[in-house]
Amino acid sequence: MTGKLYNFSKLLILVGILSLATGCATTQNNDPLERGNRVVFNVTETLDKHLIKPIAESYVDVTPVPVRTSVTNFFNNLGYLNVILNDFLQGKFEQGITDMLRFTYNSTFGIAGLFDISTPIGMPANNEDFGQTLATWGVDQGSYLYLLGPSSTRDITDQVPSTLLNPFFYMSGIIFAPISALSAVNTRANLLEQSNIRDEAALDPYSFTREAYLQQREFKIHDGEPPASGYDDIFGDDGDDVGGDVGNAGDEEESGMLVIE
């Protein structure tokens, strides 16, 4: 437990340094750390291709769908306290109360979260995290960051509450290690379809992943209803030379716009 808290404090320091180092550095270019990000991306992609993805595919082959659904439900439920906290931090009190009920129902009648009995009775899962909370408080997304997956200097801060609020974090190492491994494999298995679509469509998987991540974050921050005006930027009606979506290309040279009449 002490060791885990020590490791966690190291994570906190890393999150803090990354946020401070790059948080103020972004205006149009969302990826000033591109060179380093690409190195980490290539390492994780290689690791994924040769180790994690094959394990996840084997897991899908041998595990029946209802079992995988229950494993996903279990881990989602464990992480749900973080959703509840962020409901309240964003001022969504009604949603927060519903999510508390959802967590209670699934943890008890749903047998430790193995079964999602709340969705069929009108309490579907919500998607909230600390990065979204900071966004609703007006904090800029900061720099794009690729560690174990796509993130940003704002969104990475979610590691702190999501780790501390996960009951699993306080379990002993003997239980923690194998369940962590199962959680990782199950998460990767759930992303197989998405990653296959990406591999099928992307010419440069790094740019593709970054762009998709940043756009989907905006979608989640606005609870699936982002303002239509946000999609106007790419057309550069005002003749801006930089801006909006294209700034994500990480290079002002690449972000020249055309004025579309």
């Binding site: 440069d204 593709f208 239509a228 790419i234 057309f235």
Partner: protein, 207 residues
Amino acid sequence: MTLNLQHLLKTTIFISLTFFSCMIWAEIEQEQAIYAPVNELHTSLLRIMENAETNSFQERYDIMEKTVVTHFNSPLIAKVILSRHWKTLDEQAQTDFIDLFNRLTISTYVDRFDAFDGQSFKYLSIEQMKKNRFMVNTKFMRPDDDPVSFSYIVQNDAGQWKIISVIANGINDLSLKRADYSSVIKEKGFAALISSLNEKISDLQPK
């Protein structure tokens, strides 16, 4: 005098009602016209899904080709995606790129929408954007899975409303491709982009 006032009142009400009816009718007509290309696309997608087992890839490709060529403003899409690189291409290269991009779009649709299991599209709303652009919001309903939010940016092109962007669950295909393609052009050049796109199209064909 009273009769004249009554007559005037009736006439005013009649003119006002006619005026407002015409306005509402015009608005409904415009909404229908804006939604039309999206509806055509959805109809074609459902058709290729329903016929996935009986029709060949080429037959389904032909259905989608007609829809994409007619209801997408491909020249504008290509221009936005290539951004500043567009201006560096001569007319023939631009035409070739539009053709290549259309083939990729059509092949992708045929490859992805390849099975029917009771899916349907649901119209939600239309929102006005800048420069006479509109966003048509819809949902792709899947019986055994979460719905996918599909929004389309539609713009008038010489009197015909055409799709200029597709947004799936918040991810704008136009921005995604623009970032992706510009990265390839920057690192390897335009010829490499064309070569990669041809490869992608070839990968999507049935083996």
